[in-house]
């Protein structure tokens, strides 16, 4: 069968979060969302990596430097989760994990 060689599950992606921001509506909505994304990312100690494809209001926030220590990772994660969970502009957020996908 076609190899089920999905991406190596131990591949690495740095700490990153997908975030869905509340749309303010009105004109310049896109711009407003961009600014909003920058602000929220900064508040969470992350960097706004830009909009996710064609999904309006969805942004990817990444941690600027790939942390090394597990403890450090935990601290960063907790801090980011706390900010994103508590931010009024954030409708939804989800830390990005590796997906295991197999060719069929």
């Amino acid at each position: 069968l076609a190899g089920a060689a999905g991406p190596d599950a131990h591949g690495t992606v740095g700490l990153s979060w997908a975030v869905h921001l509340d749309s303010p509506g009105g004109d310049q909505e896109e711009e407003h969302l961009e600014q909003q994304a920058e602000a929220v990312a900064r508040a969470a100690g992350l960097v706004n990596a830009g909009r996710i494809g064609e999904l309006q209001g969805h942004y990817l926030f990444v941690h600027p430097t790939g942390p090394s220590q597990a403890l450090e990772v935990q601290v960063i994660r907790q801090q980011a989760e706390a900010v994103l969970a508590g931010h009024k502009a954030v409708r939804w957020h989800s830390e990005q994990r590796l997906l295991k996908r197999a060719k069929r």
Binding site: A5, P7, I52, G53, E54, L55, H58, Q96, A102, R104
Partner: protein, 647 residues
Amino acid sequence: SIHFNDPKYPQQWHLNNRRSPGRDINVTGVWERNVTGRGVTVVVVDDGVEHTIQDIAPNYSPEGSYDLNSNDPDPMPHPDVESGNHHGTRCAGEIAAAPNNSFCAVGVAYGSRIAGIRVLDGPLTDSMEAVAFNKHYQINDIYSCSWGPDDDGKTVDGPHQLGKAALQHGVMAGRQGFGSIFVVASGNGGQHNDNCNYDGYANSIYTVTIGAVDEEGRMPFYAEECASMLAVTFSGGDKMLRSIVTTDWDLQKGTGCTEGHTGTSAAAPLAAGMIALMLQVRPCLTWRDVQHIIVFTATQYEDRHADWLTNEVGFSHSHQHGFGLLNAWRLVNAAKVWTSVPYLASYFSPVLKENKAIPRSPRSLEVLWNVSRADLETSGLKTLEHVAVTVSISHPRRGSLELKLFCPSGMMSLIGAPRSMDSDPSGFNDWSFSTVRCWGERAKGTYRLVIRDVGDEPPQLGILQHWQLTLYGSMWSPADIRERQRLLESAMSGKYLHDGFTLPCPPGLKIPEEEGYTITPNTLKTLVLVGCFTVFWTIYYMLEVYMSHRTVASTQGCRNGPCHWPQRSRKSREEGTELESVPLCNSKDLSGAEAESGGPPTTSDLLGPDLLCEGDWTLSQNNQAALDGPYQHRPPDLLQGQEEQIC
């Protein structure tokens, strides 16, 4: 009447089966009428597409392609240790391998454009998947995805929030608003007793779920059953049966052609190719029109293992084969006369809290929900398409559970089949199962969910915490459906399949793509390199000039009297052709007066004999003219005494 010089075309039994007539996708008649997928773009979302290979290059669409693993526009596959990154290229060949190029094989839609999105060859996240599903979605019409969660018989997974949002955005805004067509492979977990109702891509209402049958029309050993399967088409079977012949990559062990493509991976692209043929004859088919045409035209056939069940409006469905075999002739003739179905209507029941124990087989837990006419008034929903049931169940061994859904007509769907490999103790947490078996049936009435525990361990109680029923359909009445069935049957003669007959097609929407200009890392690196090189060179050149200046200046020292730069001729001053030139040699003025009083020295005065040495001086136009003057032919010694130049 169709002949190709492609060497492997005769072995492509799935296109035209000479050995077992009828065991193919019945596409040659469509080709004879010049329906080859022209004007349609299919993108293979996989591990890359080797678009330089002869069979792919003529139809390759760079504008529909992208590489999300390397973040650059070129989806070329990368050789890997298992030499396994040929998958996307093989799928692409099935769809659009170019004909009559004396190379390998022919694609189902050999007139279509083929693109690649490389996303499987590296770490994959929800956001990458979401980007892939909408990448160039105004260029790519059909997304062919021959991959999914592990088919290990114990995984319950699918698109998460972002992936679902991208699929939904794709069907709403993709393809100028007609909706992207997502074709997914149903899964290869047959040997692990897997079922594609545990695969969220197969369960999704936004995807066309395609299963596989072998050359004899039977469900191959690797194939999975599920209630959400729309149809099947051909692929390889066991060792005794032929696999699919298609283009291959020519990297590593690849030869550019393979006779061994198999699995449901091989079936999905064939379906994508047939849908491309449909879109050529009717570009304005919406994503739901395509699903409807598949349901109306897939053909049931004799297979005693298949549990065919005919529903209230005459559609026969099997958990193994969906609504049956895809048939290109039927699909294309139906597309030709198809007018769009009414808009999608949906109904959501409240979340029904049960907290009831699930008894051991043969007893079962039965919960009902009645959908009244009043419930459906607002949505206008009359007949069904997809029916979904979202459940939360706790159970120490998830694979022991069996879930069946009965539509008001009594049509049964096995939406959660027991899985012997699945011993996961986490149960189901808002997992949505779906079925297409009630397609076209009336939506009103009582729905019955029956759950059993078929495990054989000591009695452990599973608990149904809550569940929710979701109906998708339209305001079509059963009569409308029967009318449409009649129309299609009359079209199957092919009488409409010519250019003279064309139904009006609404124009699509102009939807801008969010193509924020992002400099790719490669471009960035190149720019940085060029920039560094430029800076370095500038610094070097400045130093060079400065040093040569200094050298000139340091040896410029005048011994007797003030230093004289050669006088500039009044003439050149007047003409404004004064050249800012620094003599590269030193001029020691022996007869200062002369210099002062003499007429305007011509350039040859300035350019004394020593300066006539070649190489380290430059001539401007005036200088050249001067050289042509009176001094030109005087031997160097006569020039003595004018000015002695020291280089």
